[in-house]
């Protein structure tokens, strides 16, 4: 596995549960010893015993990593002291504002909602102004509102020049946030690049799913003979079609199918996405 992340870039590690995302970032954060290879962050090598290199990294673990019997301010102050921040009070106040917890700063975090705890979890990772922020599936188990707030925060951090390493098994999060994505499975990177580059790996074809009744096999034959249609197959009363620029081709497809006497009950057009890329590369779905 080899990749690099530039300043201001959000790099995604996309893979299903158990693909090796958390293990990879644990090594990058100096929690686990790598069997081989080298990890360099901000020019400093990272090992489990690194001290200076770790100062450049902000880790937001997948599990909440806060003290429930300390207040939000006390949590931030404690971790700020560990990083030796000289402007600790000011920085803590600033972060409390960023994560929207200024009004609840003196409350014990065990009294917080799940979303508030998540925001504090991220705030602690940001506290020491890291050059690389590692977020390990930060939206797992988060309500939609808090999830959106977290994604907006990540976008803002990236725009401020921070390098972000973001792991997720949510394809839509990777597509929204990440400048580049590495698709990871069984501890190996299967493909890496921008969304466009990855989509091109599956030929850039749209997927059209038409459900109906009648002689769908005959309808599929008609569709298959049309120009720009790469593939058409029938299963479970649906015709699956792979075609370039499906939106333009759709009227011809519908006319051709109904012309065979088949009737259509629904039509769905999907542009190629990372889910399709993952399926293409690994033969399994992201949520498997």
């Amino acid at each position: 596995m080899s990749f690099s992340i530039d300043h201001g870039e959000t790099f995604g590690l996309l893979g299903p549960n158990g693909a090796g995302k958390t293990t990879s970032i644990s090594m990058i954060a100096g929690l686990l010893r790598a069997d081989a290879g080298e990890i360099v962050v901000a020019g400093k090598p990272i090992t489990t015993s690194s001290v200076r290199g770790k100062a450049a990294i902000g880790l937001v673990p997948q599990e909440l990593a806060i003290y429930p019997d300390l207040t939000a301010r006390e949590n931030l102050m404690f971790f700020g002291r560990l990083y030796g921040l000289s402007d600790l009070e000011d920085r803590v106040n600033e972060i409390l504002g960023v994560i929207g917890l200024t009004d609840r700063a003196r409350d014990l975090t065990k009294e917080f909602s799940g979303g508030m705890k998540r925001r504090l979890n991220i705030g602690i990772g940001l506290l020491h102004r890291p050059e690389l922020l590692i977020l390990d599936e930060p939206t797992v188990g988060v309500d939609p509102q808090s999830r959106n707030a977290i994604l907006e925060s990540v976008e803002a951090l990236s725009s401020e020049g921070m390098a972000v390493l973001y792991t997720t098994h949510y394809m839509e999060e990777a597509e929204r946030l990440c400048d580049r994505v590495a698709i990871i499975d069984e501890g190996e990177i299967r493909a890496e690049g921008t969304r466009r580059e990855l989509v091109s790996l599956v030929g850039g074809k749209d997927r059209v799913t038409i459900a109906g009744s009648g002689n769908l096999a005959a309808a599929a034959d008609v569709v298959r003979s049309m120009p720009d249609v790469a593939e058409a197959s029938v299963s479970d009363h649906t015709i699956q079609i792979l075609a370039a620029d499906a939106s333009r081709l759709l009227p011809d497809l519908l006319i051709g199918i109904t012309g065979t006497g088949a009737s259509i009950t629904s039509v769905d057009v999907e542009e190629p996405n990372l889910e399709a890329v993952f399926l293409h590369l690994t033969g399994k779905a992201l949520r498997d």
Binding site: L31, S49, R52, I57, L59, Y67, L70, R81, L82
Partner: protein
Amino acid sequence: MGAASKIAAKDLRLRIRDRSVFILAVLVPLALALIFDAVFGSALEQGELSLEYGVVDEDHSDLSLIFLDTLRAIEGEGVLTLTVFDGRSEADAAVESGEMDAYFLVSEGLGAAVAQGGSGRIEVVGEVDAPTSTQIATSIAEQFGAGVATAQLSVSTSAAMLGAEPTEEQIAAWTEAAVAAERPFMFSDVSAATRQLDAPTYFAAGMAVFFLFFTVQFGVSGLLEEERQGTLSRLMSAPIGRMSVVAGKAILAFVIGIVATTILIVATRLLIGASWGAPWGVVMLVVAGVLCSIGIMGLVASAAKTPEGAGNMGAIVAVILGMLGGVFFPIGSGDDLLSKLQFITPHAWFMRGLGDLADGAEWTAALPATAALLVFAAVSSVVAVGLLRRRYRG
């Protein structure tokens, strides 16, 4: 302030907020020490040897004077107190009033009878509620009698060998030598190993060292709590030495252990009059005891998977070591297996150290026990750190 101190300060704040530390570290041991002292204190005190004997010498012979000298020699060793009465009535009154445990009556004619090869009697009159003391007095008299019999044998043997009766001076000298050789009891200087604490100090010390092993768990099991609540990964990813986290937990355990034990010492001194001995000796023992408990409970925690597991295993270890170490009831100092086995526990060494400091001994008297506790601490700590390094090496 180093990273370890910052972690310890954070944990201390959490522990103060969680009031259970006060309950387990101070209130429970203090309450138990008070209860044990109230319930079992008098029973423990009865175990102390303190003999009040009288003697009535109606004979006034050389032999009766030798008997008096023998009793005075034992008195000089600090175990019995001897009072010489002029007559039986006075001695009877002292025994009946409980002032004396027993008295020896040397009847008139004893010396003359023995000198002529006959027999005489030394009577022991004991107080009915002091059977043990009376039995000891009887034994003293019997042993003296055995010595006299040996002397008589020497006299008759000498007479046969010399072909002449020995002089009175020779008879007296042989008798004295025989009695000295047959000393009824050897009240040797009480060794450090057998010295006993008084009841308040015993129970206070026992509860202090017993609960110390529970108290330090607030610190040493903190590593497992960090792991469970996910904060360990955040600490490990911070720019601090890896062992700073472990050191932070050890510092907290040390602080809580020292503070809790100090409070117990002061409180039991004020409330039940526990006498802990030379302050510097007590300081040495407490510090060594705390380090030892941290090492052993750290070893337990390093082998456990969860804080609950560490707590359960720790409790088992603490109770077994405490029972074996004699924190609830004295194990004794004989040659039996249990008496020897107790010294595989730090508890027994802690109690012994305090025993060594009893009766106004210098602080240096606690050095052997302190050294033993430090050996326990060193060995257990090295193993615990080794296990933790393996566990968190990444």
